[in-house]
Subunit: 257 residues, 2 copies
């Protein structure tokens, strides 16, 4: 598997150098000293190659002069992901039939940066963690686990049995996200780009929310919607931690009212 | 200028049909009846053309079998945008040297859907509203104004003089977005993909915030960060409307504490 672009490679060098087999640098690039130094520290071979070779290997995408050979992406078992999420109060994000690598990459980047999310993908009719996904994820994959499951509905049921409260996003007939009090531990379900969350999955949700939009005819991009949802989850989690139920006025002070 | 893809063309037909000169449909596509009907209603010519022609005109990007010839994008004057934003309590979003069309498109889509934002771009060293941007924006451009200014710093100064409170996003040494009480009318500043908000602009901000991330080494994509910021702006605006300052306990009830 190949990883390309400055940020993705630098982030991988910092957080998971063992997964890098070798690094190729465009021989015309002189500003990659930091990467050379890091590779040397970790005993990773660095090869200076002609620009044309890098471009060919990266199928002409923008590599910023750098490309790394890395281990195949390591998915985890769903049961392990769920157990860990439960213990560490992380939120599994169930992506119901996503098909655009750009969207999955964007979601992994935000979820990795926010740092308290993991990803669950179906094995069929869904994008998986490919090279294009990693390029967009910019290193986010180093800060979360991804599991693949045969049946996303069954996976959600399993999470519910364990005590997760399941939240899903829809485009109509639901409470505004700004007014929904979230429950923890929480699992989040996001639907596909074209069809949203499927009916069979909708039935399993403990709560449905909408991002409050003035123009209901429009729709949000699923990766942007996921970023908004994940931010709101982090926000309410912080608020909850700061606000014991017996002292609700603290939340007012914290919010400056 | 060309617009391609089912959603962008449908949205344009609904909200701004006059800007469409003619529509070309892939002759093999039979499921575009709705679009044909709408075009007929508005007196817009529809032409069935071979798949290969559509692909050539769209430079092989995914057109979903449809392409429209439209008027060039109509920017507005910055002064008009500002006046309108002030009167209607909209938030101008100043994008300081963005260079990726995908990001500008994503921002226009979210801002258009949320419905209370406008966009300000610098004329130089910045992406403008191109065909690629419109493809990603999915019709968001119909629900906001975009102005271009020679100097983004001067534009921000002008907004401040008018009474706008200017919020900017940085990656360190700032208050968490979850703890910042926003002031209205509000202007938002977002920096470029590589460099963030420039120093010269930082000095003009009334407040700096960070999206709370557990992994500080990571960074968010600028379009995703903008979506999160815009959501928080909408959330606090709603909360403020619901909560007269004299009755802060209402906010607790509304939030379910």
């Amino acid at each position: 598997m190949k990883l390309y672009g400055k940020n993705p490679v630098i982030e991988r060098l910092k957080s998971n150098p063992k997964s890098i087999k070798r690094v190729m640098i465009d021989e015309n690039h002189v500003d990659l000293t930091y990467i050379r130094k890091k590779c040397h520290q970790h005993g990773i071979g660095v090869q200076a190659v002609p620009h044309s070779k890098i471009q060919r290997l990266a199928q002409n995408l923008n590599t910023q002069g750098i490309l790394a050979d890395i281990d195949d992406f390591a998915y985890v078992q769903f049961d392990d992901l769920l157990q860990n999420a439960f213990e560490k109060r992380r939120t599994p994000v169930f992506l119901d039939n996503l098909n655009d690598p750009q969207n999955l990459g964007g979601i992994i980047r935000t979820c990795g940066a926010l740092g308290v999310f993991d990803i669950v993908l179906p094995t069929t009719e869904s994008v998986s963690v490919t090279e294009s996904v990693l390029r967009v994820a910019c290193g986010g994959e180093n800060y979360l686990s991804v599991a693949r499951v045969a049946n996303i509905g069954n996976a959600i049921e399993k999470a519910k049995k364990m005590g997760f409260w399941i939240l899903g996003t829809v485009v109509e007939d639901a409470v505004s996200l700004t007014e929904q009090k979230l429950q923890f531990p929480l699992g989040l379900v996001m639907g596909s780009e074209e069809k949203g969350v499927r009916d069979i999955i909708l039935k399993k949700l403990d709560a449905k929310v909408m991002v409050p939009m003035k123009n209901q005819r429009m729709s949000l991009n699923v990766a942007h919607a996921t970023s908004i949802l994940c931010y709101e989850i982090v926000r309410q989690k912080k608020l909850r931690r700061l606000t014991p139920r017996s002292l609700p006025w603290i939340s007012l002070l914290k919010q400056g009212f």
